[in-house]
Symmetry: C2
Subunit: 111 residues, 2 copies
Amino acid sequence: MTTVKHVLDSKGRDVYSISPDASVFDALKRMADNNIASLVVLEDGKLVGIITERLYAREIILKGRTSSGTFVREVMSTRVIYARPDQSVQECMAVMTARGVRHLPCWKMSD
Amino acid sequence: MTTVKHVLDSKGRDVYSISPDASVFDALKRMADNNIASLVVLEDGKLVGIITERLYAREIILKGRTSSGTFVREVMSTRVIYARPDQSVQECMAVMTARGVRHLPCWKMSD
């Protein structure tokens, strides 16, 4: 059984984040620079949301906003669904389908 | 073994397309209206490319363009990788990883 931990062992454990007070343009640039499709949103070290390419595609120009004139906090999703390192990849895929999300940050409880 | 055909039996066979001479804004709107992340680009009934949310996120604002002032043909990918109905889902996932694509239009040769 392949677990989230196995995937992380292969893809690395870098997590890219952004402030809720950054612009969506800056979020987009950070995603492009790192070739990723989402960023976790951290405020005072606490996870408060997630911003994704999907949200950018749906919530900015189509709603009359601009990426440079919109804060991340205005469009981020605050409903963040996690994965645990011991979960199986199959289980994660089922969660993503059931919850309608395309990104699962992996969260490990402190020891 | 789950094949592409099984997936299509479940998710449906609608294929959404757009003209290369449409604006990226119109492409984005069509994707949002149908809750999808890519459109095949058809010219005179012939498949000439694919446009995706990923291309929108990377090729428009970050390169100083606007979605309403850019034609689909300017940013579409002309490297379209297909799946066949008889391919397994596992095989398709391997192709997507190997070729670095996130969308595989399914193409059935005419009888």
